[in-house]
Structure formats: C-alpha cells, structure tokens
Symmetry: C2
Subunit: 189 residues, 2 copies
C-alpha cells in the first residue's frame, strides 16, 4: 500500500454515507464525491459496493470489539465488567466514528451476497457480551439468553432516540445496567 493511499478516506466517507442513508440510500457517486475522486476510482479499492459495505461493517465491529476489550482489561468483578463493556459499546456506537453505527443501521438482508458473513461477524461480537453475562452471579430462574437479548436490544436501539449533548452515552449505559442489577438483587432471594 502506498503511503499517501486514500483508502482510509474512502472507508471513512463510506462509513458516514452508509450510516446516514443506509445501504441502498447511499450511492457510490455520493461517496466518491465526499472523498474527492471520481466514481470509477472507487473500484481501484473495492470490487463492488457490497465489498465496500462489508469492509466498513467489519471495521465497525472491529472497533466496537477493540473498545470493549480495551476497557475490560484488569477489571475482574463481573458486574463491573458488564457495566464497563456496555459503556464502551454505547460510547463507540453513539459518539464514536460512523463505522459502528453501520452495524446497527444496515440489515444484512440488504446485502444478499454478504448477508451470512455480516451476521457471522455480528454474532461473534455479541457472543463476547454473552460471555460477560454468563459470568454474572445470577439466580437459576434467570435466563441469561434473555438478559443478553434485552440488554443488546436496548443498547442498539439507542441511536434511534439519542441526541448529542444531552445525556452522555456512558450515563445511559450505566443506567441500563443498573436496572438489570436491581433485578439480580431481587432474584437472588
């Protein structure tokens, strides 16, 4: 790769476009214009629009994962770990780059050729969250799968209603985990 490669810029602009307009709503021309190159030049870097989307999507998940794993290091208390992970997740999703929101905005079925792959990538990340929940000291009556689905749903839906400048993403994440933690106290008895 060349030193002055514009590939990073291409990815950045694509991420922004896909996040704002979804897969079908974003056009190659719009992305090319944002980068400052001609539409055809995009095909020097990616063979198709689908491939470009996949690259952005995977980078999004990678950043999400990296943020969470970095925040997690050296914390051992299970509830604290979950809280830290959710804070990192929501911060990346709401105030971080556009990449992460692409995972939430673009439905795998929008990209038929790559759908299975996108789902696999996302599932890999969600299993990480699942493991954090498995580690919680929960009563036997609690279905950990449900906890995961509920928590991830609540977090991933946040971009729908979140408005910058009001409550911080970390506040929101902490509040959600706190609600779940109360549940634990109730179920332990």
């Amino acid at each position: 790769m060349r030193a002055d490669s514009r590939l990073p810029r291409v990815l950045d602009c694509a991420a922004r476009a896909f996040r704002r307009n979804g897969y079908h709503g974003a056009s190659m021309r719009e992305i090319a214009r944002a980068v400052g190159m001609l539409p055809g030049s995009l095909y020097c870097h990616f063979a198709s629009k689908e491939d470009l989307l996949v690259a952005v999507y995977e980078e999004g998940v990678r950043r999400l994962r990296a943020g969470v794993e970095h925040a997690l290091s050296r914390e051992t208390d299970p509830w604290r770990r979950l809280e830290i992970a959710c804070v990192a997740h929501l911060e990346t999703l709401l105030d971080g780059s556009d990449y992460a929101q692409v995972m939430v905005r673009v439905q795998p079925q929008d990209v038929p050729q790559a759908a299975r792959r996108l789902v696999a990538v996302r599932d890999g990340y969600e299993r990480l969250v699942g493991r954090l929940i498995d580690a919680l000291p929960l009563g036997a009556a609690i279905d950990r799968g449900d906890v995961r689905l509920m928590l991830l749903g609540a977090l991933n839906w946040a971009p729908t209603w979140y408005r910058r400048g009001k409550r911080s993403p970390s506040d929101i994440a902490r509040a959600f985990v706190e609600l779940l933690r109360m549940e634990l106290r109730g179920a332990l008895r």
Copy 2:
C-alpha cells in the same frame, strides 16, 4: 372510494416491500408488480413514494396501537397491563402484518419531507407505553424514562434476531417484562 378499489392491496404490497427492503430498497415498480398493476397507476392513489410510505407507516402504528388498546381493556393491575401491552406489541410486530415492522425498519430520516410527521406518530404511540410504566408501583430510585427506553429498545430490536417457529412472541415479551418485574422487587426494599 369504489367498492372494488385496489387501494388496500396497494398498501399491503407496499408494506411488505418497505418492510423487506427498507424505504430506499423498495421500488415503485416492485410494488406495482406485486399488486398487479403498472407503475404509473400507483399515482392514482398516492402522489409520491413518500406519501405511500407515510400511509403505510401510519397504518402500522395504528394497528400497533389498536392491538395494544384492545388487549388492555378490562385489566387493571399495572404489571399485568404492561405485560399484556408488551405481548400485543411483540405479536403485532413479529407475527402480525408487515405494517408494524415498517415503523421499526424505516428511519424517519430516510424520508426527509415526512420525517417530522413519522417521528410524531411514533412518539404518540410510545407515550402510550410510557403511561403504562408511569402507573407501575416503582421505587423512587427508578427512572421511569429509562425503563421505557430499555423495554421499547429490547422489543423493537427483536425483529433483528427473531426467527419464526421457535419461541413465540408472547413468550419473549413476557420474559422481558418478567426481568423488569424482578428488578422492581429488588428496588422496593
């Protein structure tokens, strides 16, 4: 309106298309073909694609609301009311017609001209859920706004992972509410 009007069929097919492919991913031609008419004929019923989407969206919210309100009649216990509402919500969203999922699939920003209206319509419905949560006997430490956001997020995210034939929508909805109810028990003490 004529007796044999095909307007209902137009709405049905549009709902299916918008649900499956999103706003930008669905085309007027595809909808017209499903109905069995020519693309131009759609404009006898709606002035634009945006108008068609708005009609479907509003019908989706109307059905969601109707389902919940009907299920709610004659139940007075606050927790039971919330559970019943969530069951109705999820049943309509997951196994009901395509209309309701349009509310979840289409982002208002996809339809600039009508965005404010779509948001208003959706907000109206969510306030209904909010009132059910306000009626719960929750401890003072609990932020009811957070409970609403968390619950609605978890429910509205369900179409992402739900697979027909496995767990029923009502089971899922009950499980989510049950998780919240445990929380209450913990917070009351």
